[in-house]
Amino acid sequence: MNLHEYQARALLKAAGIPVPDGEVATTPAEAEAIARRLGGTVVVKAQVHAGGRGKAGGVKLAKDAAEARAHAGRILGMIIKGLTVEKVLVVPAAEIASESYAGVILDRASQRPVFMVSPAGGIDIEEVAAKTPEKILKLGVDPRYGLLPHQAMRLGFFLYRDVAQARPAAVILQQLYRAFVDAGASLAEINPLVTTPGGAVVALDAKIGVDDNELERKPAIAALRDVSAENPAEVKARNAGLSFIKLDGAVGCCVNGAGLAMATMDLVKYYGGEPANFLDIGGSSNPDKVVTALEIITSDPNVKAILFNIFGGITRCDDVANGIVAATSRTKLAVPIVIRLTGTNEERAVQILQQAGFSALTDMDEAVERAVALAGGGA
């Protein structure tokens, strides 16, 4: 789960990191009032889960409250990378002497948190890593001990030569690590970390991504979820315990297991179609989940054919068959359905489906090919 910038700023502030004032507005009038309170020049920033907000016109400088109102009016409701802007953050425009980057991620390869800092901040860090890797210092942290003071100092001195800035930077990095752990984050970054003309070190923009597996034990973080920033069908799926991602094709897929679900999408493409979605109904599926899955898939107007691909292990094929029958007896399907089932209780499932007028296949390739053909080749 990704946090909005204003949420990430609040977490960093709570950890003791110097973050400029700022407030969130959902209307132009609110933005104007905040700008007036802050006084002077402000920046109005779109709050969406997308990179490149500046390039998309979602970040604007305003010299007074009236201009802040005008900018907020344009930015609110704007669509950036498919996401509608519902909120803007209004912050004072900072005077900047230098910009750097500081971040910590859960690194898959080294299996521990890794800090990454660079004096070349304010821009895309992946670009810095690709073009000028010598401008980045990486440092792995033993999660049992945390970021040790001398490690933080080493990072601080990589960013700033002057101890008057390296030392506060080191403190900020230790606070950042604390915030990272407390939030159950997989990524926490400050970009840019700036120095002001007066020499203070300040976090200007923040980004935090949280490990979904942490949410159960961190209710305060889970409460930060912004459902308005997500696709409604994906929210409905998550609430039903399904894993669903909407795509643009015509073949609606319903599969048990994430790997098989991806492989099914790939096979749709292999046979010339396009998948309409990724959908994993999970391991021990009950008929109710199948009903919800079908509701979600059929609510997509692009779907021209539905494909079930079930490999019964823990999942019992007869459960899935019962779900399909229950769902289709309530609302008749407007598009054709192809069902592939194999494994646990396959015979019972085929019987249930046949009695309800469906036919079932046992071969994955045959089923996918048929679904693609029924969807008109995905076109």
């Binding site: 859960l106 898959r108 390869a109 299996q111 521990r112 948190p113 992946e126 033993d142 999660p143 049992r144 752990v181 159950g184 997989s186 490990d211 979904d212 597996n213 942490e214 159960e216 034990r217 894993s243 991602i245 795509l247 599969v255 048990n256 297991g257 994430a258 790997g259 098989l260 679900a261 991806m262 492989a263 999408m265 790939d266 096979l267 749709v268 493409k269 292999y270 396009e274 998948p275 990724f278 994993d280 391991g283 021990s284 490999f311 019964g312 292990g313 823990i314 999942t315 194999t342 494994g343 646990t344 994955m364 390739d365």
Partner: protein, 292 residues
């Protein structure tokens, strides 16, 4: 022969009286796995369906039954501690089926295990099966058969699909290992390749990877340098959009890295047969002169 589990595996089940634990313990026993103990705190002294003694702690179970492997079916929030407990009790192999374990927990668990010489498989995995010898986890026994192909995979049902294709064509397996779909796991592709290379009964290897991370790429380089047995591989997620988590916590393309295309190219470069779909597994093995 096989890797990780065999006839000498003496298994303790952590969470044996839970819904998943009891269901799968029955399946493992019926398969012939030597389940010597179960653990549920507070139920020590009882028996699991008259077949397996239950203990309060793993330490007690190991002392009483000389268990040398454990399988964990406890809820995710208890899974980290369950792994520590198994390692503290001196268990050599810990298989964690539980899904949803916080990744940060794993970064602390893994060095702890390594210091004690224990191996973790998982978390968020279907476990290990050496057909005809032992099944530790949830892989359905009936789709496997004894043979000479080693299978390693990040997925569950996709593994069953591929194993099913192998079995139907007469290609049995030495061991099938599900290493799990999380970003940080105890046993990776390289560990399994190393095991299969050293196992005389394994004559060919099937690798099933997916988008996210660089494990497959590193394994391909390792295979090129160190593995003499033929390998074929599949990568799921060729149509996955970047930046989205595809069900598995670890299945995500970050930036431009971890794509299926990148992994398939690295397979190709390192001499691994690239399956475009699950049904390619048998023809590609035959192309490499592997016989059932």
């Amino acid at each position: 022969m096989s890797i990780f589990v065999d006839r000498n595996t003496r298994l303790v089940v952590q969470g044996i009286t839970g819904r998943d634990g009891s269901f799968h313990t029955r399946q493992m026993l019926d398969y012939g796995t030597n389940v010597v103990a179960g653990v549920t705190p507070g139920k020590g002294g009882q028996s699991f369906e008259g077949r397996v003694p239950i203990f309060n702690t793993v330490a007690e179970a190991v002392t009483e039954t000389r268990a040398n492997a454990s399988v964990i079916y406890v809820p995710a929030r208890f899974a980290g501690d369950a792994v520590y407990e198994a390692a503290d009790a001196g268990v050599e192999l810990v298989v964690c089926i539980s899904e949803g374990v916080p990744v940060l927990d794993m970064t602390r668990v893994l060095p702890y295990l390594r210091e004690r010489g224990a191996r973790l498989i998982g978390p968020n995995c279907p476990g290990v099966i050496s057909p005809g010898q032992a099944k530790v986890g949830i892989i359905p026994g009936q789709i496997c058969r004894e043979g000479s192909v080693g299978v390693v995979s990040r997925s569950g049902t996709l593994t069953y699909e591929v194993v099913h294709q192998l079995t139907r064509a007469g290609f049995g397996q030495t061991t099938c290992v599900g290493i799990g779909g999380d970003p940080i796991i105890g046993t990776n592709f390289i560990d399994c390749l190393q095991g299969f290379q050293a196992d005389p009964a394994t004559r060919a290897i099937v690798m099933i990877g997916e988008i996210g991370g660089t494990d497959e790429q590193q394994a391909a380089e390792f295979a090129k340098a160190k593995v003499t047995k033929p390998i074929v591989g599949f990568i799921a997620g060729q149509t996955a959009p970047p930046g989205r988590r595809m069900g598995h916590a670890g299945a995500i393309i970050s930036g431009a890295s971890g794509t299926a295309a990148e992994k398939m190219a690295s397979f190709e470069r390192c001499g691994i047969g690239v399956m475009k779909r699950p049904a390619d597994v048998v023809p590609l093995l035959k192309e490499r002169r592997v016989t059932p």
